[in-house]
């Protein structure tokens, strides 16, 4: 059995007096597709942000690909990670945000090529060639010269996916990537993610309220509540036969709100 690519061990995180994550532990295997569901404030987005080093942790350990994320091993001792160590670890991880976070002053092509050129020293020609492949993959090859403001939300999010993929991360984090989209634009983004899941062996973690998509997409579903994983299992187990009362209550509310499972 291969080693897990993500190993989260007893992470705690508070914002002020509010405990978002309370001794959270989880493991993700290489290539696994994981859906993180749960009510807002349950900590599912926070754990993605922690994996992307956008939040600091208060306690616990995280290993990515066999290496400590927030710590460095020096002479057998664990020290807090410095910026250089974090930069090295970030190469393994990419993230797509709810609000796309494209660079509004750069055209689509430059959005995608900026990071590979700056952080990996890729030559412009090579970066643009790769960017065109990625834009083609997300169905936006004809928009390479467009500015982000000229795109629809769904198109922006597909550019954001291409931009994250351009760095060839081993792990991709998707944080409610369709929540900010008009309903008719959700499907084009989900289609890209389906394709990605089918064509690559990337590890993918997905925070979502699209229960139908989570069901089809994920190998495993984690239900978060109050900073802990209350229940986890295969999509069918979680969505059809949830064991925990809180999972049942949450799914009932979601279905009542009109989400398809």
């Amino acid at each position: 059995m291969p080693a897990p690519i993500i190993k989260v061990d007893a992470i705690s995180k508070s914002f002020g007096t509010f405990k978002v994550l309370d001794g959270l532990s989880m493991q993700v295997m290489p290539g696994e597709k994981l859906a993180l569901i749960g009510p807002s404030g349950s900590g599912k987005t926070t754990i993605l942000r922690i994996l992307m080093t956008l939040e600091k942790i208060d306690g616990g350990h995280i290993q990515i690909d066999g290496e400590q994320l927030y710590h460095m091993e020096r002479n057998g001792r664990l020290l807090p990670a410095d910026e250089r160590h974090l930069a090295k670890m970030r190469q393994k991880i990419g993230m797509v945000f709810q609000l796309f976070n494209l660079f509004p002053h750069k055209c689509v092509m430059d959005n995608v090529t900026l990071a590979p050129m700056l952080t990996k020293g890729v030559a412009r020609a090579a970066a643009e060639k790769r960017a065109m492949q990625l834009l083609d993959m997300v169905g936006l090859a004809d928009k390479a010269k467009a500015m982000p403001a000229q795109l629809s939300g769904g198109q922006k999010q597909r550019v954001a996916i291409a931009r994250a993929l351009a760095l060839s991360p081993k792990i991709m984090l998707f944080d409610e990537v369709t929540s900010a989209l008009d309903p008719e634009l959700v499907e084009e983004v989900l289609n890209v993610m389906r394709k990605l899941a089918a064509e690559t062996d990337m590890t993918m973690l997905l925070v979502t309220h699209e229960m139908g998509f989570a069901h089809d997409f994920a190998d495993r579903v984690l239900f978060f509540d109050r900073g802990r994983i209350v229940e986890e299992g295969k999509p069918d187990e979680i969505f059809r036969h949830p064991k925990q009362e809180r999972t049942q209550g949450f799914l009932k509310k979601i279905i009542a709100a009109g989400h398809r499972v």
């Binding site: 930069a87 970030r90 945000f97 660079f103 002053h105 990071a115 500015m147």
Partner: protein, 219 residues
């Protein structure tokens, strides 16, 4: 009439000095503004402290006093400046202190999500600043930079106190030589105003050019 045109020539010479001071002062002010403005958001406390001291000192003391220091006091520590250089130094450092706060404010006005995208794409702090934050912040700075440049233009008249023959100085010369008050003072009024108009027009067109594409419409 020929007499007037000769005096007008004097005033125009003064205008050239004023333009020279404004341009050189603005360049120094811009450099100081970016150094101190970015220094104010540095993660090193010593850099933040130095930037803050510079800004507070030059905003908190009068430009007259700064100019007198640059011209009359610096020679005592072995640094003799020409009136022009003393003027550029005082004006640039003074206006730069105000503009530094503009730079800082503009940097802070860029949303957290842009910084987070930089982190997620593994850009270094300076790479993110240089390629993502500053280009967007520049657009926020520009209108206020236009104000600062016009302030600087008008402040150039203080150099007449160290007998640099700028626009205001020449107007006084013409007044004392001709005994006419109206002609020289109307001329300098008009010239200052036209120069200020050129600055605000220039800044506005720069603004338009930089905003191109940001609102979804190709201009």
């Amino acid at each position: 009439m020929t007499q007037w045109s000769g005096y007008l020539g004097l005033i125009l010479q003064g205008a050239l000095v004023t333009i020279e001071l404004t341009l050189m002062g603005s360049v120094l002010a811009l450099i100081m503004a970016f150094l101190a403005g970015i220094g104010r958001v540095s993660r090193f406390s010593i850099v933040r402290a130095l930037a803050t001291i510079y800004i507070e000192f030059f905003r908190g003391t009068s430009i007259f006093v700064q100019l007198f220091w640059a011209y009359f006091v610096l020679p005592f520590v072995g640094l003799s400046l020409t009136p022009l250089l003393a003027g550029v130094l005082a004006l640039g450092l003074n206006v730069g202190a105000y503009a530094a706060e503009v730079v800082r404010g503009a940097i802070l006005s860029i949303g957290r999500e842009q910084y987070e995208a930089c982190t997620a794409l593994n850009l270094g702090r300076w790479q993110g600043m240089r390629h993502v934050i500053l280009p967007q912040a520049l657009l926020v700075m520009l209108p206020t930079f236009g104000n600062n440049a016009i302030e600087l233009l008008k402040a150039t008249s203080v150099v007449s106190l160290i007998s640099l023959a700028d626009l205001t100085f020449q107007a006084q010369v013409v007044r004392s030589q001709t005994g006419s008050t109206l002609m020289p003072f109307v001329s300098v009024l008009v010239i200052y105003f036209v120069l200020a108009l050129i600055i605000s027009w220039g800044v506005r067109s720069l603004e338009r050019r930089m905003a191109r594409g940001l609102d979804g419409v190709r201009v």
